[in-house]
């Protein structure tokens, strides 16, 4: 059984773009990344899966149940963290979490305290007095409180400071080890890289790629930027894998794809003042995919 399965899932709006024929599935126990730029349809997909909005075409299942007809049953086993968290302002954190837990079977008080302690969340405060980051923490505790089989996270790290982000990732990794399926939507590639085994890329409402994270980044461009104290011959980086080289007063930047060994050998021979090798951002990943598509098309044409 797949934890999540989409078959041609479509939501069309009269005025704005929705999602268009999404088909993919998430295995049980998998930590699955769902990335795309803002407005690509990530939230629309998640909201359709959760029955907050209704699909105009296609079907979807979660934990073997139909997302439209069996939505309430599905939600017994699901934890959901929305991208922007809003709760009943006048409640205290403790009461809100107890209210949240009251929808599920069993007693979750201990787990609530444990999670709150790990996320450094003060249970006695009022929701309206919380900062954005603290509200997000409430959302995290609320999503994991009832030990769901499937956790759906929509842009979960926005608003969290780096320390809390780290704690949160540790929590998610533990959940993953316990066999919980995690569906993680983000527009930050590095987050997805750290946590996820596989990733679906969505752009303009359509699935662009579905790949193992390892392959995705291995094939992608890295951003290289360096500053030197001496002159570098203009053809010094004329090697395989280098593209879009730019120079500016002792600073050189380019994209690099492929084995890092030949690059580091070249770099080692230079009088370096500074060096950055950075992960590609989403746009560059897309660029990579579009290039590939074009190459394939050309090959097919030839």
């Amino acid at each position: 059984m797949n934890a999540i399965q989409l078959e041609g899932l479509t939501k069309t709006y009269r005025t704005r773009r929705g999602i268009d024929g999404l088909t993919f599935s998430v295995n049980e126990g998998e930590t699955f990344g769902f990335i795309g730029p803002n407005g690509a349809g990530k939230s629309t997909t998640i909201r359709t899966l959760l029955g907050l909005i209704h699909p105009t075409g296609g079907r979807a299942w979660m934990l073997g149940k139909d997302c439209v007809r069996e939505s309430a049953e599905i939600k017994r086993e699901i934890g959901y963290l929305p991208s922007e968290v809003f709760y009943y302002d006048r409640m205290r954190v403790k009461d809100l979490l107890a209210y949240s837990a009251s929808f599920y079977k069993g007693d979750h008080t201990r787990r609530m305290k444990e999670l709150a302690e790990r996320m450094e969340l003060d249970l006695s405060r009022r929701i309206e007095d919380l900062s954005f980051g603290n509200k997000k923490k409430v959302g995290i505790v609320q999503a994991l409180l009832h030990e769901p089989k499937l956790v759906i996270l929509d842009e979960p790290t926005s608003g969290l400071d780096p320390l809390m982000q780290q704690r949160f990732f540790e929590l998610l990794m533990e959940e993953g080890k316990k066999g919980t399926t995690i569906f993680f939507s983000s527009h930050v590639l590095s987050e997805v890289q750290r946590l996820c085994q596989r990733v679906a890329i969505i752009k303009e409402g359509q699935l662009v790629a579905l790949e193992r994270v390892r392959e995705l980044t291995a094939n992608a461009n890295k951003r290289v930027r360096l500053e030197t104290t001496g002159e570098v011959p203009s053809d010094y980086f004329a090697m395989q894998g280098v593209s879009r080289e730019e120079r500016q007063q002792g600073s050189i930047r380019f994209l690099y794809r492929g084995d890092l060994a030949p690059l580091t050998a070249k770099l080692a021979a230079l009088p370096l003042a500074n060096l950055w090798i950075e992960e590609p951002d989403l746009e560059e990943i897309f660029l990579h995919y579009y290039e590939n598509h074009n190459v394939r098309r050309e090959e097919e044409g030839a």
Binding site: A72, S83, V85, Y88
Partner: protein
Amino acid sequence: MNLLRMEWRALRRSTLLWSLALAATAVLLLAFYPGFARDAAIFNKLLDAYPDAVKQVIGLKTGDLTSLNGYFSFVLTYLSLAAAIQATNAGLGPLSREVRDKTADFLLAKPVTRTQVVTAKLIAALFSLLVTNLVLLLTVLAVAGGVSSEVDYGPLALLTLTVGLIQLLFWGLGLFLAALLPKVSSVLPLSLSVVFGFFAVGMVASLVGERAARYLTPFRYYDPAYIRAHSAYEGGFLLLELALLVLLTATAYIVYRRKDIHAV
């Protein structure tokens, strides 16, 4: 149960305030009755001087003020108007609250159906109206004996309960609007326009012709003169109210179940 408790918590305060305010208004206006009764002859003469249309609009007929129930019928016009605002709020507020407060993502991701959500909101609101009407009824019955020596309790109770009947219709209307509108950013202005809209329709239409007007606005469904004379409501209007309530709530359920809840 947890849903219902939450909904009731949200309505508790306003229920208390509305109940007290309506009961206090009723007491205050009833307290003027002895004075009116003493000078009834003068008031009747004064009223006679007005054209019929004006009497229609302010809700008084010659001779009305001479009995407690007649005087109370006039009081009811204004009690109903205020009560209708409470009822419209009770229909409109709860059902539109999750979208307005952006808590829909929380609540609708819980293992509850939309039907359960509507039902909890519906029961809590009906309970709120029930409490208000009980408080009003008991207050009116308790005070009546103090302001008049001849009280016709049966019709007085029926007259008081017209407030609840009118409220139910406005509540249904509120529920219907809440389901239909994508988002209600603030409840009171909308409630006020609905209530005063129907009140104005009633006033204008009563100038044109009483018969058609009665169907157009809930405020005219229960004619006090008829109730005083027959100690009963008009069956046709009770049936009409029931049919409208079924229609409005059923539509609210159907529409809310299919509604798309968009990201904020």
